[in-house]
Amino acid sequence: MTAPTTLASVDPAGGAATAIETAELPIQGSRGYWGSVLRRLSRDPVAMAAALVILCIVLAAIFAPLIAPMDPFKGAMARRLRHVGDATYWLGSDELGRDMLSRLLYAGRLSLFMGVLPVVIAFFIGSGLGIVAGYAGGWVNTLIMRIIDVFFAFPSVLLAIALSGALGAGILNSIVSLTVVFVPQITRVAESVTVQIRNRDYVEAARVSGAHPFAVVRVQVLGNVLGPVFVYATSLISVSMILASGLSFLGLGVKPPEPEWGLMLNTLRTAIYVNPWVAALPGVMIFMTSISFNLVSDGLRSAMEVRQ
């Protein structure tokens, strides 16, 4: 769009002969890698729409106390299971007569927290382990990756439920179990990207400069590994949202009366014959969040795939 980008399209071989003399284009703060990724992402209508949905859900959760029309904990047995479109309860009321809209807004807080946090923690632990394994190679790699292999022997849902089941119900335990589920997956991706990067000429050039391995990793490897790993991690948020709510749905996560989408889905199961659409509402929220994260992640991936 602006002058610096046109230079990127100069044919590396053909344009080079004259480039030394004629490269008169002003360079004011050339665009970094992430700048161009974000620019491409912003041109992807699906990803931007999904990002907007996520933004709305996050804002609604943060400002729930301001937006919510009623107290999410106060119910009235006389006004149980009102239908969607009710004059007072716009989205109906639940099995204890609490306002669904308010509860759905408040529930976003715990659901998002429990869905996103495990991936964030796993991103740091997994990237660290993967980079160490990939860069060090040898027995360090064998040790780390063989342990990771063991965790891959459990389907992720089973591992999450097994750990939560053994640790007992609770928000913290759910977050710990989900983190353990995602660390091996992120480690594996980080390791394979690191192994690729480590053999690039520029890393070897940095190594032969006699720099400390730590400096080589920090300056030359980290930036190139974290990008792809980050995109992979964003694709896990969708899974994590579903699993986190699933744990609460089973009664292994949040405890009542705390509002959480998965738990609400569980407690409303008794109402599916009386008021089916209210009973299905919390699932709609999980679904919307999960699919939006997936679409943003897809958009991010294709925005990163383009090489200049």
């Binding site: 071989a13 360079i27 940095a206 400069s209 006699g210 720099a211 300056v219 190139n224």
Partner: protein, 360 residues
């Protein structure tokens, strides 16, 4: 052309003056390699290792101070592996590297101080620059790693960029994809010079460039050599480029040295048939000089199982019985000129070999 502006702080002394790091004096080779061997294990079966690829299989040579040694050979002959062994990217299985009279790995010369004095420019100008770092950051990385402060390292990077013909204010902040191939290779040269090395290994450093850009970079390299008093090991498959650059030439074949000697002598009157074939296979601009027959046919044999005797005998037009059984040593054929061919050695048993003086 190469921005030979004012000499700035931190730069190596100009040619002619003595390098304070010089130890053995001008007669002492800057680099001497003795019996270098590297075998790569190919992917093995269930138990143990598979057959080995003899990438470098016993190589001795030396590079004198201030000279340029050209290294030629087909792909797979071991020239790049030799470079990587010298850079210690791969560790040799056997063999000694002696730098200015001091054995690498001895107390006098540890790896870190060796690497300050020997640097390398890679073939792929794009792959050898970190796409996430600006040009000046890439050049400043080495000095920074050796203890220079951030601003001092950046100042040195700017100075070097200027010396390789890139205006630092214009190019310093650019990313590798924002500059041309020739400019990238200039950056790589600047990066290699940032640690003030005495020996620069150029592994096909100009091979990927356009012909006109190649000439510019070669001129730059010649200028820099004079300016910084450098020694080059110049690896290329292009004999014309090697002819232009080198004082001496080393020809490699299947992990061994086939011939080594003064550039003029080797390129004018090669003593090894392989060198002759390489020279003959250069495309000629003279239509009358074109060959009807390819001088060198087929691929080099498998380095897993090099042929017995002379490694070149399977493709050599002059192969005789002795070539199939006995491996020729790298013997002197003229002053400072060595060839590993039975034909060049009197009394070797080859029918075309010169007669022994006794019989004559």
């Amino acid at each position: 052309m190469s921005g030979t502006a004012e000499p700035t702080r931190g730069a190596a002394p100009p040619a002619g003056g003595t390098d304070p790091r010089d130890r053995g004096g001008p007669a002492q080779p800057l680099l001497a390699v003795d019996g270098l061997v590297k075998h790569f294990a190919s992917k093995g079966g269930l138990f143990g290792k598979g057959p080995v690829v003899r990438a470098v299989d016993g190589v001795d040579f030396a590079i004198a101070k201030g000279e340029t040694l050209g290294v030629v050979g087909e792909s797979g002959c071991g020239k790049s592996t030799t470079a990587r062994l010298l850079m210690q990217i791969n560790r040799p299985d056997r063999g000694d590297i002696v730098f200015d009279g001091e054995l690498l790995g001895s107390r006098a010369l540890d790896l870190k101080s060796y690497r300050r004095q020997v640097q390398m420019v890679f073939q792929d100008s794009y792959a050898s620059l970190n796409p996430r770092l600006t040009v000046e950051e890439s050049v400043a990385f080495g000095p920074r790693a050796h203890g220079l402060s951030g601003s001092a390292a950046l100042a040195r990077a700017h100075d070097l960029l200027r010396r390789v013909g890139l205006e630092p204010r214009r190019f310093g902040g650019r990313y590798p994809h924002e500059i041309s191939g020739g400019q990238r290779q200039r950056v790589n040269i600047a990066r290699a010079l940032a640690l003030e090395p005495r020996l620069l290994i150029l592994d096909e450093a100009v091979s990927a460039l356009d012909k006109s850009v190649e000439a510019q970079v070669l001129n730059l390299l010649a200028d820099l050599k004079r300016e910084f008093g450098l020694t080059y090991m110049f690896i290329s498959h292009d004999l014309n480029v090697v002819r232009f650059m080198s004082d001496r030439v080393m020809v490699m074949y299947l992990g061994r040295i086939a011939e080594i000697g003064p550039a003029d002598a080797i390129l004018a009157a090669p003593r090894h048939p392989y060198t002759a074939a390489l020279l003959a296979s250069q495309p000629s601009t003279d239509p009358d000089a074109r060959l009807d027959e390819a001088p060198l046919t087929g691929d080099p044999p498998n380095p897993i199982n090099p042929p017995p005797g002379c490694r070149f005998h399977t493709r050599c037009r002059f192969a005789a019985e002795v070539c199939r059984t006995r491996e020729p040593a790298l013997d002197p054929v003229a002053p400072a000129h060595f060839a590993a061919c039975h034909m060049a050695v009197p009394g070797s048993g080859h029918p075309d070999a010169p007669q022994l003086p006794m019989a004559a």
